[in-house]
């Protein structure tokens, strides 16, 4: 069982009291406990079981505008005492920073709305094994599948965030995830692909059969790939890759990157950065949402943000420190986005495939080729060649490149959005990118 709120609260208040006694003018503390159990299968047999039980505490102390922090996994009172003393000693010796402060009191979350983020169901290891057995028997049923690896993880956690301004809140959350990785082989190549599901509630995850079938199908269709020539071509990003564009976008509008001047989207508020049809929303209060939160990691209430409205940039992701630097109020995004998504486009998936006579459909990218300072983008890719709306053959060992500034303006979205993860996108087409191959 995860530790209850009472236990976590008592640890938190012990820390706040101690920091005050030492002379800290402010302090904040997070105490969390998490238990997770994982079972892994490989080629239809049990491969690994893993139980993880972890307590963690992190404390920040202030002396006026001086600040420092410590963290530890050892919650024994005398260890905490030594650490807080060390922390405060460091605070005294750290130079002042005028922007250091606890969050504004009026922005702190007042009520804890129930978003159904906790499912107390315990899916014991025997049941996980049953699920994985079914999954793997389906995944390995095709002859071309030569290897399967799958995993089921159940996680329960609880936390409390408290600060010396009287904020003291926290809540439990859970997640259930299953994944399947399959390897297929034919006379020309060996390929790997995967399928994945993760939900707050056990009853919402994809079934074992569906997961196994999808992984197997997605892997087999990659066999015997070709390399293609280098050219400018329109690219369609599968949903699982399209959502990565939002990740890069979120990085570029974080108030940290903006305040430091290291983002290609600095000073772009109220400017057109996507085409007019594009809307990007970050919605923290989705019922059972994988990325849902009631307040951010500083205790600031998070509301829904329309980040992009008709292609225009409306908000940055602001925390307290960088907000003070930029003269903006925190919008509860310390720690980043919550449930981030592109709104649906107007065109169906099938019609999107037919917009040009030839496309590259990208199902996987590799490499860390996003430069958020310049907006340059270049990654390795795997996918398919599409001609006249039909999948022709698998393609690999190519790279795709462009610059986000141009790519964002050339996005067309399909109308097939669903909310599987904490970041979601419909299928996406971007025109005018360069493919490098032979």
């Amino acid at each position: 069982m995860v530790k209850d709120q009472e236990y976590l609260r008592s640890k938190a208040s012990y820390c706040l009291d101690l920091a005050k006694k030492l002379g800290a003018t402010g302090s904040s503390v997070t105490v969390g406990h998490s238990i997770s159990e994982t079972v892994n299968f490989r080629n239809n047999t049990l491969d690994e079981s893993n139980r993880s039980d972890g307590l963690a505490i992190s404390i920040e102390t202030y002396l006026g505008k001086k600040r420092s922090s410590i963290s530890s996994s050892n919650l024994l009172d005398d260890n905490i005492k030594t650490l807080i003393e060390k922390c405060f000693e460091t605070t005294k010796n750290t130079p002042e920073d005028e922007f250091n402060s606890l969050p504004d009191k009026e922005l702190l979350a007042k009520e804890i709305k129930n978003l159904n983020l906790y499912d107390e169901t315990h899916f014991d290891n025997e049941k996980k094994i049953e699920y994985l057995k079914e999954l793997e028997s389906v995944a390995s049923s095709e002859e071309k599948i030569v290897n399967t690896e799958s995993s089921f993880t159940e996680n329960k956690s609880n936390f409390i965030l408290a600060n010396s301004d009287g904020f003291c809140n926290g809540y439990k959350s859970s997640s259930f995830s299953a994944s399947c990785v399959t390897v297929a082989k034919d006379e020309n190549s060996m390929e790997r692909d995967y399928e994945f599901t993760s939900k707050r509630h056990l009853s919402d995850i994809k079934g074992a059969k569906e997961l196994g079938e999808k992984a197997s199908e997605q892997t087999i269709r990659k066999l015997s790939p070709n390399k293609i020539g280098s050219e400018k071509i329109s690219i369609i990003f599968d949903k699982r890759i399209a959502k990565g564009m939002l990740g890069a976008f979120a990085g570029a509008i974080s108030s940290n990157a903006i305040a430091r001047g290291t983002s290609f989207l600095k000073d772009k508020i109220n400017e057109q950065i996507f085409s007019e049809t594009i809307n990007v929303i970050d919605k923290p209060d989705m019922n059972k949402g994988v990325g849902s939160q009631i307040f951010d990691s500083e205790g600031v209430k998070s509301d829904t943000l329309n980040l992009i409205q008709n292609g225009i940039l409306k908000n940055y992701l602001v925390d307290t420190y960088n907000g003070k630097k930029l003269n903006l109020k925190s919008n509860g995004r310390c720690g980043g986005t919550t449930n981030l998504y592109f709104d649906n486009g107007k065109i169906s998936f099938e019609d999107l495939l037919k917009t040009n006579s030839k496309h590259i459909y990208v199902t996987e990218t590799i490499g860390h080729g996003s430069n958020l300072v310049t907006g340059d983008y270049s990654v390795g890719a795997t996918g398919f060649l599409i001609e006249n709306g039909e999948f022709k053959f698998p393609v690999n060992e190519i790279t795709i490149a462009g610059n986000f500034k141009d790519m964002f303006k050339n996005i067309t979205l399909a109308s097939d959005l669903d909310f599987e993860y904490s970041v979601n996108s419909p299928t996406m087409m971007i025109e005018g990118m360069t493919v490098a191959g032979k």
Partner: protein
Amino acid sequence: MSNFFDKSDLSRKDADKIVSDTLQNCDDGELYLEDTKSESILLDDNKIKSSSYSSDLGFGFRAITGEVVAYSHSNEISKDSLKKSSENLKSTLKSMKGTYNHDISRSNKKFYEDINPLEQKTLNSKLEVLNKVNEYLRKKDNSVKQVTTSFAGEQKSIEIIRSGGEVLTDVRPLIRFNVSVMLEKNGRKETGVYGIGGRQSYDEYLKNDNWKTVCEEAFRIASVNLESKPAPAGEMKVVLGPGWPAILIHEAIGHGLEGDFNRKKTSAFHDLMGQKVASEGVTIVDDGTIDNRRGSLTIDDEGTPTEKTVLIENGILKNFMQDRLNARLMNTKSTGSGRRENYRHVVLPRMRNTMMLSGNQTQEEMIKSVDKGIFAVSFGGGQVDITSGKFVFNCTEAYEINNGKIGSPIKGATLIGDGPSILKEVSMVGNDMMLDPGIGTCGKAGQGVPVGVAQPSILIDKMTVGGTKL
């Protein structure tokens, strides 16, 4: 050295008993205890942005029978908690029976000293260096718009208790010093990053005003990139500079030669042992025994002393990197490559310092031989798909080569290649092998571990460059 039983109701005797009792019917396993103290001090945007300290303590208890691994970890070192873990392991392996392998090699060699780098330099003197870096760079040129510099240090103490009471310990210091600078000129922004580090005290790396060298290098990379043109797209010849570009070897070859992927036959190399996988003259080793290097280890995280493992000798595939589990299942011995990020993670076979050894050609000869291609000097990072063998890495400093001469710098581009065939495309191996500056972290299955790389300049006859210019 940490005393893990000092403040716990668990005595060493209790621990021995629980370990032996839990593992008696297993093939292998151990109790791994870890105590890590770490710090990070960051100067950014003209200010000390963060100063943090962390103390992490915990255990990981592992039991293995056949191919099945049961693992349980917790940060509560107590009798109750260890017993709970023991029950959890027993329940996973209840229907299986193994024979415990007590063999573990021992060595007295140490590759770094038992120091605590955090305590060897005061906070104020660390702050002083960071402030000097900031002032130095901002005064250097008015195109400097942002400076970020940091110290990160840790001391990790580990203790491994095996069934039968055998105990192995290690104390591992590790530090890193980093400088990142952003320049802006004529509306263009570019960054340059450089860092140094290893398993010695901060001052060992900072002597002779070495921080200035780090600043100069970060500034030089950013300046080069301010002048960069769009990179070409397509297949061409690539000359790699010495040192850090060896992450190509790490990605293209290294991961594919880790024991687990080969036992599971998911690596593109699994059936190539003894075969020619690289051009003649290409020799690659993975070495955990170089003094004070970031990827070096006195013992690995299972207690096996590390070694210098020959992976490829003169083009022929000789060995995989093994931990105890994969070695046992593949009928070979551990190469001291069993590593974990920390007590929260299971052991996996991992790289240490992966190096291509020198040949006898010069970098000039390589450049001269290229009509059209690129010269890549530094990289940001890479990734590999083990199964298809395709790998990428991103250039952070690269130039065009035209008619045997180095031309303009080009924008960061991704290079993509095929692991099993790339080393057959190596047509020249330089005489200038160099170690990287001590900054690498390798990720695998969600676990990051410090690693090193090294190589001489090499010429690759054919690789795809992912630029935008057709």
